[in-house]
């Protein structure tokens, strides 16, 4: 699939009444139920929900890797018919190719998309420097820690300058300290380019810290419980936020929705 030049599109998402039902061994499973969601240009949307609620499924549907059973998905006003769209994705595990160096892993994105690698080499090096991996360009993944590998994954998702960035619990496998660092890093990188971001997490504080909005999903079948605006100013500092009463208020709201939904189970 030919991908338009990265300058096209603004990364808006429009999910309308999406459901996903799939057959499994015993019965049919309803993964998602009637999800409607919009993300505007440059918005950072956090999606919070318990494990198994279908957050990753939703991301895959928006990415075109899965087809919804009902409903429609549009990215930049065009219906999503398959993968290969102008989006960058960071998965839960770094998924780096062990046989490629760090630099080659970042450039994989442009190789697969059929773009000229030499055009993007400089940008790849800049991105790696930006995330603090200067000097590791020619290392192999096994020489890097988990956090470093995940940062390579981030560069790989950004190399082709997509207007839309989707991240599926990217910092889930990291220890708490690294995770906090990465949150700050991500905000810094995002502030430079203001892409539209869909950020999936099951950490409420992470969702509030990073997002302009927090979308709350219920346990399976995944429904949208709430869409809460987060109005802290940018750039946000961890210390300045976590202790505040407004932060606690938002956390309570979100946790309330989640508890109510799982109490029904």
């Amino acid at each position: 699939m030919i991908v338009p030049h990265a300058a096209d599109g603004v990364g808006t998402i429009s999910v309308a009444d999406v459901s996903l039902v799939y057959p499994s061994r015993r019965a049919t499973v309803q993964a998602l139920q009637g999800i409607s969601l919009k993300a505007g240009q440059g918005e950072f949307v956090s999606v919070v929900g318990p494990s198994g609620c279908g957050k990753s499924t939703l991301l895959k549907i928006i990415a075109g890797l899965l087809m919804p059973t009902t409903g429609s998905v549009m990215v930049d006003g065009a219906p999503v018919r398959g993968p290969g769209g102008n989006v960058g994705i960071v998965f839960q595990s770094p998924l780096l190719m062990a046989w490629r160096t760090v630099l080659q892993n970042v450039l994989l994105q442009v190789e697969i998309r059929g773009l000229r690698v030499s055009d993007y080499r400089e940008r790849a090096l800049q991105l790696l420097d930006l995330v603090g991996l200067k000097g590791f360009e020619h290392s192999y993944p096994h020489e890097l820690s988990g956090g470093m590998q995940q940062r390579v994954g981030l560069c790989r998702a950004l190399i082709h300058d997509p207007p839309l960035l989707m991240m599926d619990e990217p910092f889930g496998a990291l220890d708490a300290m690294t995770r906090e660092q990465m949150n700050v890093e991500l905000q810094r990188v995002w502030l430079q380019s203001r892409k539209t971001v869909l950020f999936i997490t099951h950490s409420i504080s992470e969702a509030i810290f990073l997002g302009d909005r927090v979308v709350v999903m219920s346990p399976r079948p995944g429904r949208l419980l709430a869409d809460i605006a987060v109005d802290f100013e940018r750039p946000r500092a961890l210390d300045g936020l976590i202790g505040t009463s407004r932060f606690a208020e938002l956390s309570r709201q979100i946790r309330g929705h989640l508890n109510a939904a799982s109490a029904v189970e």
Binding site: M1, L65, I89, F91, Q92, W99, I112
Partner: protein, 266 residues
């Protein structure tokens, strides 16, 4: 290379050689002390003398065996690797072809050798056929496992970049499968030597297998053992060559680069 790395490399080569030297010395002493007759177990000196005397014919027979080893092995790789790919990509083909692959393994080569000679004659062909049959299964199975065992998430990731089937195979499955393929190749190359000998045992007037058979039949101890030793050495050398190529092709794999912790041991 650091001094300790150099020392380790040297030790890795010297230690097996030292071991072999020790065995040879003990063997020589035992032959002398127990006065073991030549037809039972010749001394190392006798074997060495025999190799020196008959080296021209030994080289010729070695060449013959080597040819069937390499050609049968090459055939297995050329046919087996693409076949494994087809099996992995297509369920129907898997159901049709896998039983055939398994049969190639379970059919007893010793039993089928005479049939192959009737079909293919007394020349090199039946030996190549047997070598092929014996190496086919390990190569197909290890390749198939390697191609199949890619994480689904990795495939999703590359698909999300717009990769079609061909790119998924070339950029993801094949490189991922290389360590498995090499494991299969290492097993197969050793089996190939066995296969070539089986073929020669059943019907041949060339090759190391032929030499083994005839010299054992005439109780010519030194020649029997000379052929045997060359055969074993052939297997070891071929295996090492595959291992060497593996180190060049997949230096990144954990099985090739070894454990980092080990570098701190003395």
């Amino acid at each position: 290379m650091r001094d300790s790395a150099v020392a380790r490399r040297i030790a890795a080569i010297l230690m097996p050689l030292a071991f072999i030297a020790a065995v040879v010395i003990l063997w020589s002493l035992a032959s002398r002390i127990f006065k073991i007759p030549s037809y039972l177990l010749p001394s190392p000196e006798e074997i060495a003398q025999r190799i020196a005397k008959d080296w021209r014919s030994l080289v010729q027979e070695t060449g013959y065996t080597l040819l069937s080893v390499l050609l049968g092995f090459a055939m297995s790789v050329v046919i087996g690797v693409p076949l494994a790919l087809m099996i992995v990509l297509n369920r129907t083909l898997e159901r049709i072809l896998m039983p055939v692959v398994v049969m190639s393994q379970t059919v007893p080569k010793v039993a089928i050798a005479p049939i192959l000679i009737i079909w293919l004659g007394f020349g090199l062909l039946p030996k190549i056929a047997i070598t092929f049959l014996i190496t086919f299964f390990p190569i197909v199975v290890s390749t198939a496992v390697g191609l199949k065992s890619v994480e689904l998430d990795m495939l999703d990731l590359v698909r999300s970049m717009g990769a079609g089937r061909l790119k998924l195979v070339l950029r993801v499955r094949m490189p991922h499968a290389l360590p498995n393929i090499f494991a299969g190749l290492k097993i197969a190359i050793c089996l190939a030597v066995v296969g070539a000998i089986v073929g020669e045992f059943v019907g041949s007037d060339n090759g190391l297998g032929y030499l083994l058979l005839t010299s054992a039949g005439s109780l010519d101890g030194p020649l029997t053992w000379a052929a045997l030793i060359i055969l074993v050495a052939m297997g070891v050398v071929l295996f090492s060559i595959v291992g060497f190529i593996e180190r060049l092709v997949i230096p990144w794999h954990v099985s090739v680069r070894g454990s980092e912790i080990a570098t701190f041991q003395h």
